[in-house]
């Protein structure tokens, strides 16, 4: 098994206990280091379930899911939690941040559960705090740092960028973004996706990006269309 594949899925089938047919049926999926995949599909098509499977939160599937060469189904729940903390940065649609922590503390939070990411952040900027500040600057949030603004006072666009900084800190191999732009207007949306692409490419990080918005597909190396219960068709399109 080569480790150049960050995500490797083979013969993945998943259905909820009281469900007829398969919610997910993915014969094969590979995500190479540094590449990006756009995951698309209507609501209920199993996008969130696939993300839960890949991030090791959901078990009970058949087939195989590997992250950075580790087969999730062979790991204990605790080891999967560790794997997620070490190798995966997550960005959600909204409510990404703890409102009672400052933006810098929110970014640094990702390093609390992973020694690996803490060490990497320290190696890069000297301290987790400085790395968080560097990333926030990189993502155009210098004014947030200067004004020492409360996290809950940030605009949604700013909050999503803070979340991106948290996903990026400590250079995890994979970033999973679950509809991160759906709360943003189109101008902010494109800016956010551009920034995220730029940062992941600069770090050689793989990106798994979920959205129902087909307009974004052109930014990504590959696209996977999920169709829900009828079974998923895999359409990987080189860019």
């Amino acid at each position: 098994m080569t480790t150049s594949h960050i995500v490797e899925i083979d013969q993945l089938r998943f259905s909820w206990p009281d469900m007829r047919g398969q919610l997910l049926n993915i014969p094969q999926l590979r995500l190479e280091a540094g590449s990006s995949l756009f995951l698309r599909g209507p609501s209920g098509s199993g996008k969130s379930t696939l993300l839960n499977l890949v991030s090791g939160v959901q078990a009970g599937y058949s087939g195989s899911v590997s992250i950075c060469g580790e087969r999730l189904e062979t790991l204990s729940a605790h080891r999967r939690d560790r794997l997620r903390a070490d190798h995966i940065g997550l960005i959600f649609q909204q409510f990404n941040l703890l409102p009672w922590l400052s933006p810098v503390e929110n970014v640094a939070l990702a390093c609390r559960f992973s020694r690996r990411r803490r060490d990497r952040a320290q190696a890069r900027s000297g301290s987790v705090q400085d790395e968080a500040i560097r990333l926030l600057r990189e993502l155009g949030l210098a004014e947030v740092l200067n004004s020492r603004r409360n996290t809950s006072a940030l605009s949604i666009g700013q909050q999503q960028r803070v979340a991106a900084a948290r996903a990026l800190i400590g250079s995890p191999e994979l970033i999973i973004a679950d509809e991160p732009t759906s709360a943003l207007d189109s101008e902010h949306r494109d800016r956010f996706v551009d920034l995220l692409m730029k940062e992941t490419q600069a770090n050689g990080t793989s990106l798994l990006f979920v959205s129902h918005d087909p307009a974004l597909a052109s930014h990504f190396d590959n696209t996977l269309q999920l169709d829900g219960i009828t079974g998923s068709s895999l359409e990987t399109r080189p860019c």
Binding site: S48, S55, A85, L90, S114, D178
Partner: protein
Amino acid sequence: MLIDLLWRSLLNRRATAVLSILTIGLSVALLAGVEKVRQDMREGFFNTVSGTDLIVGARTGQVELLLYSVFHLGSATNNIRWKSFQRVANDPAVEWSVPLSLGDSHKGFRVVGTTSAFFDHYRYGRENALKLSAGRAFNGIHQVTLGAEAASRLGYHTGDKVVIAHGLGSTSFAQHKDQPFTVVGILEPTGTPVDQSLLVSLESITAIHLGWRAGVPMPGLSVDPSTLSETDLTPKEITAFLLGMKSKTQVFQMQRAINRFSAEPLLAILPGVALQELWQVIGSAEKALLAVSACVVLAGLTGMLGVLLTGLQQRRRELALLRAIGASPFNLLCLVVMEAVLLTAAGIAVGLSLLWTLLILAQQGLSEAFGLYLTLGWPDGLWQILAMVLAAGALAGTIPAWQAWRYTLADGLTPRT
């Protein structure tokens, strides 16, 4: 490693957190307060007579003797002869003796005829001697030294005149009007029945009964108070007496000797044993008190549980987010249990500070108003009780923690709220 996160999260929810802490604090203050009052009452009760080795009276039950001689409850069925008292008191093994003559009263307060030895040898609490807050001890006839409560309730000061009634009860018709007493001193509060007593000399008791037969003044036999100094006022009878022995090893020997006294039937009791027997009768109330306060703590913890559970619904997103970042469900479970423990511990601290502040403030007032003497000391076994409260708090925390565990497993990375 999550403790500072927990702290920041709690700070964010400080209104509800403070509310839980206060709920627990109040119930802990009540529980610890009840325990404190219970132990101090018990202590006070058992130390009503300390330093006395034997109490001697006419033959009766040991609880009865204790009740009428020490607590001034009920009355003696028989008196004992002065000669008997003298024979026991002059025994070489006896270090000191205090005779007591009861049976008269003043406005509901008992008059105790005794000698100055009472002031020297009566001990209460942890070997505390009687102290005067004003004036002096009586040293002649028609002089009275008042207990603290009797003085304050009746509003008497040194120099005031007091008329003693024959018999007990506040509305006695037979009054010793011809021989009024003068208040010469007032004792400091002790928390014992001494506070409700009027202490006079045995000679005074004899004097006011001169010319009386069977509890009523005989016409034509009234005495001229001016001739009293020439009269022999040695009492013929007393009600009971307290004994202190030179050596503790002689106590049982003396008790046996008195109980076999041939001249008249006497009973000698060990105060501690009799107090223990009496406490068994009245002590069940303290257990009920403790049970009630335990229920209050239970109510306090239930309140905290409610606050934690409602808070958890609001925190569902927070927990899902921490899980996404890499916290395991176990981490989150610890977080919630830790929160419950922290709130309970803070509640205990608040409760104890509250209680001791109240104790300091109310100590004086309670002793004056209720004769309840509360010390500032730490009650025995309170650590164990508090540890149990803390454990109960942690246990209560496992319910929302289990709920959090379920949420995080069901929610995956995206909370369904």
